[in-house]
Symmetry: C2
Subunit: 330 residues, 2 copies
């Protein structure tokens, strides 16, 4: 079982006296959620029709910069796409830029592929399939789109595919996303709706790739791949450029504030995306425990016990509790 | 592409002058939806935690009569389970009691299996995998649980599996469901939340099977298989025996009324479940057209042009329009 963030009930078991409400800084989900609009009853009662799925793809193409909505498949969360790909794209050798989100290597291993982890981007030149999280989770490393185009153009000559997981690409560098390169042969880009829009519970993710790959994914997921609720919310949210712009500013300000706070308590910056910060500290495990006792869940890494990943506090009450807990731990 | 019900936008294209609101009688979705409760924002914003998924399984085990919540896998709709199974359970020969819901045969064929359709239940004795919709869609044929136990006990001796799709089992005969037979070796039962509770847009389905099959399905779907909204709604709805009992009575009354109405216009009863009626008429295509012009979508069957399937009208306005349209068509 791969450990993930977000498990507040485990924190509650471990620290039953922690003050409520618990504060979850263990995920990379935008705390400034897209404001929930009124949702019509039919989004719950009726199956989404093909025309509605088409509008969802058009909204996604606009928001992500895809050349054509037909190059997009929709799914009930990016994780489902990650879990499904190995059964659709047979591969003997898979290379992964590491460390990164653990599910990629796990699903390819489970499908029988030999998975090679590499700490440098040269690992991405090998493998029938190469996997890059961009920007990377948790260390924030990034490749720009031009480098990805060069990389995959070379890989494609020998039939290689490249999966670029852009779960944390929103609100970041505009030159980073590989979406507009599609349909570059063998390139598969994943985008997560829930993290960027703060609506992870609706389960919605997108795959952008050549038409043949999109068709294979759509066949694998069947005729009703996403909920009416997700379709309704995302059609609105993905079309809302004003919200995205305002939120980018809010996230930048919160990230800067978090940098200052963490640095002030001796937590050394290792990496970042718009939605989280990765820091290093000699006593990181003790610090995570102290935060946990204070009702604050952060992300630890079994393989890197000196690392902690912090999401952005959602409000002033959370900032105050975080600062107090860091002061008490320090 | 397999034709399905529910495509109102296609009806609108075909009959642009049809009076709105269109009435969708083409699906088998309960028109008396579970009343939508207030849904907490966290159901949208947060990923469902493992403990919440566990409570969902407990609610499903109670509602469906499963022996143990650990024998249940949850998914974003039964269709996703149907589409996923062929890639998890290799089979050379698959037998399907036909005619039935078309996706079963399609997904096994696409996975490379030889699919044999049989009109009688003896076909279910053959095949590495046998598929039974119970009660069957669209003709309402049914096998009781005792017959399924005998059938699968024989099949299991030579390693055969049996998929029982109970999409329309709710509100029906209590002796029909095979859920309580699980973990009978090789038996896989599917239950649809959306149809019975009138909430098809939330995408939620269940697979009940031996623990090894459940584990394989859970691995294939990944750590967040269903939305927070589906989890919240279904935990409430599946625990609400009073609603189920009241709704069963309402559906029986609506079904009886539909029987009388259709018989009065010469539509001969062929089969039924609690959520739809299948009828036969020599001029069924003309009748479907007349209903379409009146803004009422019913289900047609390309292979059986003399058949029409009617869902239950949701309210008195729909009853009146249906009766008027039938009178005008007749």
């Amino acid at each position: 079982m791969i450990p993930h963030g977000g498990d507040l009930s485990r924190l509650r078991q471990r620290f039953p006296d922690a003050p409520e409400p618990l504060i979850d800084l263990s995920t990379g989900i935008n705390p400034f959620s897209y404001p929930l609009p009124a949702i019509p009853d039919t989004a719950y009662t009726r199956l989404p029709e093909r025309a509605q799925i088409r509008r969802l793809k058009e909204a996604a193409a606009g928001a992500y910069g895809a050349r054509d909505p037909e190059l997009i498949a929709v799914a009930a969360g990016t994780q489902l796409l990650i879990s499904t790909l190995p059964r659709l794209l047979p591969a003997a050798q898979v290379s992964v830029l590491a460390p990164t989100y653990g599910e990629h290597a796990a699903v390819w291993s489970a499908a029988g592929a030999a998975v090679v982890h590499g700490a440098g981007p040269e690992v991405l030149q090998s493998g029938d399939v190469a996997v890059l999280c961009n920007p990377n989770n948790p260390d924030g490393r990034r490749l720009d789109a031009a480098a990805i185009e060069t990389l995959q153009s070379q890989r494609a000559r020998r039939g290689g595919r490249l999966i670029v997981d852009e779960a944390f690409a929103e609100f970041g560098d505009a030159h980073l996303s590989a979406v507009s390169l599609v349909p570059l042969p063998g390139l598969i880009v994943l985008r997560s709706f829930g993290k960027a829009y703060g609506l992870a519970g609706v389960r919605l993710g997108f795959l952008i790739a050549e038409r043949a790959v999109v068709a294979r994914v759509e066949q694998a997921l069947g005729p009703w791949p996403v909920s009416g609720v997700a379709t309704h919310l995302a059609c609105m949210a993905l079309s809302d450029a004003a919200w995205r712009q305002a939120t980018a500013g809010r996230l930048t300000a919160a990230g800067d504030r978090l940098d200052s706070l963490l640095a002030g308590y001796g937590l050394e910056s290792v990496g970042r995306t718009s939605l989280f910060r990765l820091v290093r500290h000699g006593k990181a495990p003790a610090m995570a425990d102290a935060l946990g006792r204070a009702g604050i869940l952060v992300r630890e890494f079994p393989d890197r016990p000196d690392w902690l990943r912090f999401g952005l506090p959602p409000d002033e009450a959370a900032w105050a509790r975080l600062e107090n807990a860091l002061a008490a731990a320090g």
